[in-house]
Assembly symmetry: C2
Homo-oligomer: 154 residues x 2
DNA sequence: AATCATGGTTTCAAATTAAAACCACGTTAG
DNA sequence: CTAACGTGGTTTTAATTTGAAACCATGATT
C-alpha cells in the first residue's frame, strides 16, 4: 500500500481513492458490508480469504475511514464493522461495477444477481451521468479540466 | 492474476469484473485511455510505472477485451492501445471513483481536476441511480436478489 | 557507421500474499 | 472444575508478485 508517487507528489482524483480502498478484496468486503455483513467471521465465510489478509484489509479500511468498528450489537464480546458515510459513498462505484459486469460478463440468458428497487422489486435503471441542464452524457461528451492554470488535457 | 475461487466455482457479478480489470494500475491505464492516451510510452510517462508492469497490464487488458491493439495511426511501426466497447463501458465506474474522490479526498478549497460537460464546460452532475419509475435511489432503497435457485449468494 | 527513440523482455532482489499453525478469551458440556 | 469449542484474531513460513534496472530489437537520424 502507500504507493510511491515519485513523479507527481500529489495523487490525482482517481488514484487517491484507489489507494484508500486498497485492493480488490477490500471492495468485496465493502460490497458485503452493503449487504449487511458486519462480523469478521461473516466476511471470512463469504469471501473465503485468509484470516490474516481479512484482518489487514479491515484494519486498512478502518484506518481510511471507510469502515468503523462498533461494539457488537448482540452482546458478544466482539466488535462489528460498519460502513461510515465515506464508505457508503462507494455505493455508486459498486453499482457501476455490477452493471458493467452484467453487460459484459454474463451470457444473455445466464442468471445473475440483480440489483432491484426495494419498494417495487423492479430492477434499477442504469446509472446516469447528466449535465447541469439534464442532458445525458456519454464519455465523449465530457472533458477533464485542471483548475487554475487551465492546462486542459484530454 | 487468475484468482483462485475455491469455495464457489463461479465468481459473482462484482468479482468477475474486478478480476478482468486486474489491478489499480489497470484502472489508471484505462482512465488515461479515456483521456486519449494510446501509446506505450505515453502511458508509462503518465503513470510512472515500470515498463514490465505496464507491459503485463496492457497485455492483460487486451486479453480481457478491454483494450485493443491497432496499428499506429501516425505511420510509426508501433501499435496503439485503444478502448473497446467493453472498455468504454467502464466510464461510469471511473466517474463514480472520481466523484467519491472529490467528496472525501480533497479539502473544500483544495483544487482538483473536474469532469465537465464538453458542450458547456460546466461540471457534470452526480451520477444518479434511479428506479424504473424515475425515483432516485440511495443504497438503502435497493436490494440484491438472486435469480431463482442458482446457488450464488450475494 | 554510430547513435538515438520506442517498445518492449529478462533478471533478480524486495515486498506482498496466502495457508496453516498458533493463541487468547469467553461459553458451554460433562 | 476442567475439557472441548467458537470467535476473532496474530505469527510463521513459503510461494507469488512486484518493480527497478539492465538488456535487447527495430527503425529512424546524424
Amino acid at each position: 500500500m502507500a504507493k510511491r508517487v515519485s513523479h507527481k507528489d500529489s495523487m490525482c482524483g482517481v488514484a487517491r481513492p484507489l489507494d484508500a480502498i486498497g485492493d480488490w478484496w477490500s471492495l468485496l468486503i465493502i460490497r458485503d458490508a452493503f449487504d449487511g455483513l458486519r462480523r469478521f467471521g461473516e466476511f471470512q465465510k463469504s469471501l473465503g480469504l485468509a484470516k490474516n489478509i481479512l484482518s489487514a484489509r479491515l484494519r486498512n479500511l478502518v484506518a481510511h475511514g471507510i469502515l468503523d468498528t462498533v461494539p457488537a450489537s448482540d452482546g458478544s464480546p466482539y466488535q462489528e464493522y460498519v460502513l461510515t458515510q465515506k464508505g457508503q459513498g462507494l455505493f455508486p462505484l459498486l453499482v457501476a461495477l455490477r452493471q458493467w459486469g452484467e453487460d459484459f460478463f454474463f451470457a444473455p440468458d445466464e442468471p445473475h444477481v440483480t440489483l432491484v428497487d426495494r419498494a417495487t422489486h423492479m430492477p434499477v435503471r442504469r446509472l446516469e451521468l447528466r449535465a447541469q441542464d439534464g442532458r445525458m452524457l456519454m464519455a465523449e461528451d465530457t472533458v477533464v479540466v485542471v483548475p487554475a492554470l487551465a492546462g486542459e488535457r484530454e
